[in-house]
């Protein structure tokens, strides 16, 4: 079991920032979305991101809504692959904040969990999110991730019953990814009511950082999410802008508004 191993670098970093009272911001970008895409990472860091989620696009993203689906399709059509994205990361400038890869389990299994985690490590990635890998199937990847020093963050959902939620919190590394609503990724008009209840349930059982994601798209929503969680993940709101042609500078400006909202709360 991985429980005896100390938390990795992502978790240490997020805990340290959280403990200063800072609201955590983790924006997402689909790897390989555009030429020179790693410049987005630098812009995100400059805007005050505390970690950055890098999507490794998969042909069949079953938990993603229209925006991330389109981003995945666009990146794949450009020739993006796990190997190329990790090579870009290894060659690009270190953004100075932890990188967390996210992808579907098929891509992890492709070369096997050990080889996959070792490749992440070599590219300087410290964390991993796999939305179609629930806790009861996670043993083989959790062990490989721990051995490679990768924090495997698990997802919790409003439908997760209490004993299982405790297990997710206990076995998650880096942070607990709280899925704010029963649905796919994508922008929403308002923060779901289920977000507050879920984060409260998670926090009763763990002091691990809790990041709220799915549907958080505006400064107001980020501010509200911050009242319940340690921070937010912002994906579709970023990628819709990227798909509409926004460059790194535009995204820096957008994320700065979220940063400001989190700092105010």
């Amino acid at each position: 079991m991985t429980d005896i191993l100390a938390p990795g670098a992502v978790e240490r970093h997020l805990r340290a920032r959280r403990d200063t009272g800072r609201g955590l911001l983790m924006p997402y970008v689909t790897g390989g979305i555009a030429p020179g895409w790693t410049r987005y990472l630098e812009a995100f860091a400059e805007a005050g991101a505390d970690a950055i989620e890098v999507g490794l696009p998969f042909s069949d993203p079953t938990l993603d809504g229209a925006t991330i689906q389109q981003a995945s399709e666009t990146a794949l059509a450009r020739g993006a692959s796990t190997r190329r994205i990790l090579a870009d990361l290894a060659e690009g400038r270190d953004p100075g904040v932890p990188l967390v890869a996210s992808t579907y389990y098929n891509l992890v299994l492709h070369d096997g969990p050990e080889a996959f985690c070792a490749a992440l490590r070599r590219a300087g990635v410290g964390g991993l999110i796999v939305p179609d890998l629930p806790v009861h199937e996670a043993d083989e990847l959790a062990d490989a991730a721990a051995a490679a020093g990768i924090d495997l963050a698990l997802l919790a959902s409003p439908a997760t019953p209490q004993p299982r939620l405790a297990e997710i919190s206990r076995r998650s590394r880096g942070f607990v990814y709280a899925v704010s609503l029963m649905g796919t990724t994508g922008e929403r008009a308002a923060l779901a009511a289920s977000a507050a209840e879920l984060t409260a349930r998670i926090r009763r059982g763990t002091d691990r950082p809790v990041l709220l994601g799915f549907g958080i798209s505006t400064p107001d929503q980020a501010r509200e999410a911050r009242r319940h969680a340690d921070g937010v993940v912002v994906g579709a709101a970023v990628m819709r802008r990227v798909l509409d042609g926004a460059g790194p500078d535009d995204l820096r400006d957008f994320l700065a508004t979220l940063r400001q909202a989190l700092d105010q709360e």
Partner: protein, 401 residues
Amino acid sequence: MRDVPPWREPVPAAGVMGEPRERGRFGGYGGRYAPESLVEACREVDEAFREARADPGFRGALAELLALHAGRPTPLTPARRLSRELGVRLYLKREDLTHTGSHKINNVLGQALLAARMGRRRLIAETGAGQHGVATATAAALLGLEATVFMGERDIERQGLNVFRMRMLGAEVVPVTTGSRTLKDATSEAMRHWVGATVDSHYCVGSVIGPDPYPWMVREFQRVIGDEARGQCAAELRTGVPDHVVACVGGGSNAAGTFAGFADTPARLVGVEAEGGAGAARGRLGVLHGCRSLFLQDDDGQIVEPHSIAAGLDYPGVGPEHAHLRDLGRARYATVTDEEAVGAAVRLARTEGIVPALESAHALAWVIREAGGGELPAGSTVLMTLSGRGDKDISTLKELV
């Protein structure tokens, strides 16, 4: 017959095609690789299914629906003229004669009854050829449920008749415009939709794929094909059991249901896939749509878009139990081309007066190709599941024949 491992002598093994191991495992395949938001819903389906199958009331209600609404049992038809031509003794298990015209109704009546028992008001389904969608729309109408069916735009174009049937039955048909716009994408979209609708809707998966308990549950609802055929063979054949049991495989539900009736016999089990969608014969280990199984992938691990003339075989993977049966050597998986399937459909029409679905024609094409050869020696007895009728394919066939 490339890429197919050699026969091991079939051993009637206890436990093969029984209840899967813990966490829905068939050997190293299966499992419940669902997003966390669906895990609880899968657990509820599993619990309800286990209760229902142990309940004589549920079993009786399902048996009654299968008899009075779906028209079971279906006959075992000796294909006399074609058998003479091929030099083998071919028997057809006539799922094409069920209400709605394919084996899909067996599973759907089971799941619809289960959904009603669970208090769900709506069925969600994916469909390729439209047969599962039509069956779902039918069962929903019969039991007073709503139905929402996801169907790839490309399949909607080539299966217009079934789209109209679903709408006539009161179902909502949602076109899926992502990816290859076929069954794989319709399945992804149905899963996405279910994430937001678990409270009042049951996802009625149409094949032996998906997160646990679906591969097992769907096989159990389809096992009526194999169980009936086993009894009919016992009455009809001198040997009691056929030498070969053959069925087409997309996800593999009619094959799983058929094989389940013969897993503990010496019969050789053969699944026939489309050349362009051969998950069992050509796939590699992966996870898609909730289960660990064999999927067609490129060198980067992206799922390859399948191509088959039969929309119901246009799936890039195969059910986890088929992957397991392949590894065990208990079943083998072969492929046939579009042309072979069309040729087989025409031949069955002209020798036996039966127009088969293009999916089922794949199984027949293998029998025709191998009859008299090493795979299927002259004089062999063959049971083939004719999974559906060809009415839905008339416009496709019209262009080719």
